[in-house]
Amino acid sequence: MKIVLTYVALLVLLVGAVALALLVGHGSLADPTLRSILLGLRATRVGAALLAGAALATGGAVVQGVFRDPLVSPSILGTTAGASLGGQLAMLALVSGSPLSSLAVSREMMLPLGCLLGAGLSLAIVLTFCRERTGTLTLILTGFILSSLFLALSSFITSLAQDSWDMSRAVVSFTLGGVGGVSTRQLLAALPLLGIGMFACWLWSDNLDLLLSGEDEASSLGVEVGRARRWAVTWVAVLAAAAIAVGGNVGFVGLIVPHTLRPLVGVRHRRLIPACALLGGAFLVACDVIARVFPSRSELPLGVITGIIGAPVFLVLLARSQREVSHG
C-alpha cells in the first residue's frame, strides 16, 4: 500500500512540476500570438529536463547497486564529467573545418555520441581501479581525480573555443548545465538512449538485487558477475550520455533521488528504478523552473541549482554514513 501511495504521489508531483513549468516563465501566455510559441519552447525544455532527470536518477540507483555503495553516483564517479568532456569534444569536432565535421553522423547525434564515449571511458577507468571490496573513500577519490582530470581537459577545450564567440558561449552553457537551448531534434536524438538505457536497467534489476550480496554470493546464486557489472555500467553510461546531451553537466541528481526513495519503495531495483525516473524527472523540471524565475540578470545554470541543493544533502548523507560506521 505504501509503495502504491508513493507511486501515486510521484505521479502527482511530476504532473504538478510539468504543469508549473509550462505555465511559469518569461512571456505572457495570455497573448494568443505568443502562446503556442512559448508553450512549444517550454515543452521542449520540460521534455529535456524530464529526460535528463530520469536518466541521471536511474543511473544513480544502478551505479549504487553495482558498487554496493549508497554514496556513489554518476557525478561522484566522474561519469558526468566524462560525458561532459565527450560532449564538448563533439561540439568542437562539429566546428566547421574540423575533419570530424564531415563524418556521416548527423549533428544531433554527435553530441549524444560524444557524451556516451566520455561516460563509458570514465566508468571503465573506475571499474578497472575499484573492484568489489573497494572502500567508499577510494571510490570517491578515484571519481574526484577523474572529475578533476576531465574538468581540466574541459577547461582546455573552453579556452580553445574562445576564438569563436558562439562556440565559447555554447561550450560554457553546456558545461554549466541547462536545458534552455535544447532543440526538438536534439531531444529526439537522446530519447532512444534514455528508453534503451532505462529498459535495460529495469531488465537487469534482479542481477542488481543479487549483487547487493557481494560478488561471491551473487555468483554462487547464478549471477554472471563480471557480465552483469559490465552491462550495468554500460547502461549507466548510456543514461548519463542521454542526460548530459540534453541537460549539460548536471550533478547530484543521481545521488539524492535514489536516497530519498529507498525508504519509501525499498531497495529492490525493479521498484526503485521506475520511481527514480519519476522523481528525477520531476526534480529537474522543478529545478529548471527555479532557474527560469530566479531574479538575476541572466538565467541561472541548472547545474548550479542542483549543486546548491545536492552538495549539502550529500554532506548530510556522508555524515550519517560515518555515524553508522562508528556506531557499528
Binding site: 554496493r68 531488465l203 534489476s205 534482479d206 538485487d209 543479487l210 547487493l212 550480496s213 557481494g214 561471491d216 554470493e217 555468483s219 554462487s220 546464486l221 547464478g222 549471477v223 554472471e224 529507498r262 525499498g266 531497495v267 529492490r268 525493479r270
Partner: protein, 260 residues
C-alpha cells in the same frame, strides 16, 4: 532430491600468488550424507568450499555428477550447488522473503517473475529454517544468528543437491544450532550431499557421516566421521587430546526433535 549427488576432486590446488591455499586435495563423495570439513583456522576449509562453489580458480580436476565443473554454466551450477558463506556481504534493507527468493534466481527467466513452484520452494525453505516469522522484517535489522538462518533458507530455496555450509552453527543459540544440525541430517537423508565446515568436533561427531580433516591446505584424513574424529588425527592436527565423556551435553527434547 532423489538422485545421488556426487563430487569428485582430483589434485585440487588453489594458489594466491605464491601462497598455496589448497595442495593436491583429492576425494570422492556421494549423496545421502553429511560430510564434516574439519581443521584448525587457516587449514583451507573455506577455500575448499569456495572452490567447490565455483568462486575460486583452481588447478586439478573437479566433477559434479560425472561432468567437469567447467562444463556447467553459472545458473546450472547454482541449481546443483548451494553455498552459505561464513560471513555474508549482504547488509541491505531487503525484506527477508526477498532475500530467500534470491535462491530462485537461477530458475528465473529475464522477466524475473516467480512462479508457483518458486513460491512453494521459498515457503518450504523458510519453514525448514524457522524464518517465516521474519518474512517481512528487513534483513539488515536482524541479529547475526537470524541472518545465518535466512542465508541458509536462501540456500535451501535453490533446491540444490549439494549444500556447502561454512561454519553454519557459529553465532546460533544451542536450540537453533541443534535444530540446524538435525535439519542437515534430514536433508542428507533425502538425497543431498551436505558439506559443512565446523570448528566444534563434538558437533561434527554427532551430525556427520564422514569427515575430511585439513591442515595447512592438505587433506590429512578422510573417511567415516568416527575414524577421522579420533585420538590420533585430532592430536596430530589440533594438538589436543579427546576427552571421551563430556561432563554435560544437551539435545532437543523429544517433542521438539525436528527442525527449529
Amino acid at each position: 532430491m532423489a538422485d545421488r549427488a556426487c563430487i569428485e576432486a582430483g589434485g585440487l590446488t588453489v594458489r594466491r600468488g605464491s601462497h598455496v591455499l589448497l595442495d593436491q586435495v583429492s576425494f570422492s563423495l556421494g549423496g545421502n550424507q553429511v560430510v564434516a570439513l574439519l581443521g584448525p583456522n587457516g587449514a583451507g576449509k573455506s577455500t575448499l568450499l569456495k572452490t567447490l562453489a565455483g568462486l575460486l580458480p583452481f588447478w586439478g580436476e573437479l566433477q559434479f555428477d560425472g561432468r567437469a565443473a567447467s562444463q556447467f554454466d553459472r545458473k546450472e551450477r547454482a541449481r546443483l550447488v548451494a553455498y552459505v558463506p561464513q560471513h555474508s556481504a549482504l547488509d541491505a534493507a531487503l525484506p527477508v522473503r526477498d532475500v530467500v527468493a534470491h535462491g530462485r534466481f537461477a530458475y528465473r527467466d529475464v522477466w524475473g517473475r516467480p512462479d508457483r513452484h518458486d513460491n512453494a520452494a521459498i515457503d518450504r525453505a523458510m519453514g525448514l529454517t524457522d524464518t517465516r516469522r521474519l518474512a517481512d522484517r528487513s534483513f539488515n535489522r536482524l541479529s547475526y544468528g537470524e541472518r545465518r538462518l535466512v542465508l541458509l533458507a536462501r540456500a535451501l530455496a535453490t533446491e540444490a543437491r549439494v549444500l556447502l555450509l561454512d561454519e553454519p552453527t557459529a553465532a546460533l543459540d544451542v536450540t537453533h544450532a541443534l535444530g540446524l544440525l538435525h535439519l542437515l541430517r534430514d536433508l542428507a537423508s533425502r538425497g543431498a550431499l551436505v558439506m559443512v565446515a565446523l570448528h566444534q568436533l563434538n558437533e561434527a561427531a554427532q551430525a556427520s557421516d564422514r569427515a575430511l580433516l585439513l591442515a595447512g591446505g592438505r587433506l590429512v584424513a578422510a573417511g567415516p566421521a568416527a575414524e577421522v574424529i579420533s585420538a590420533e588425527p585430532v592430536r596430530q592436527v589440533y594438538g589436543v587430546e579427546i576427552v571421551p565423556a563430556a561432563q554435560f551435553g544437551y539435545r532437543l527434547p523429544a517433542e521438539k526433535d525436528t527442525a527449529p
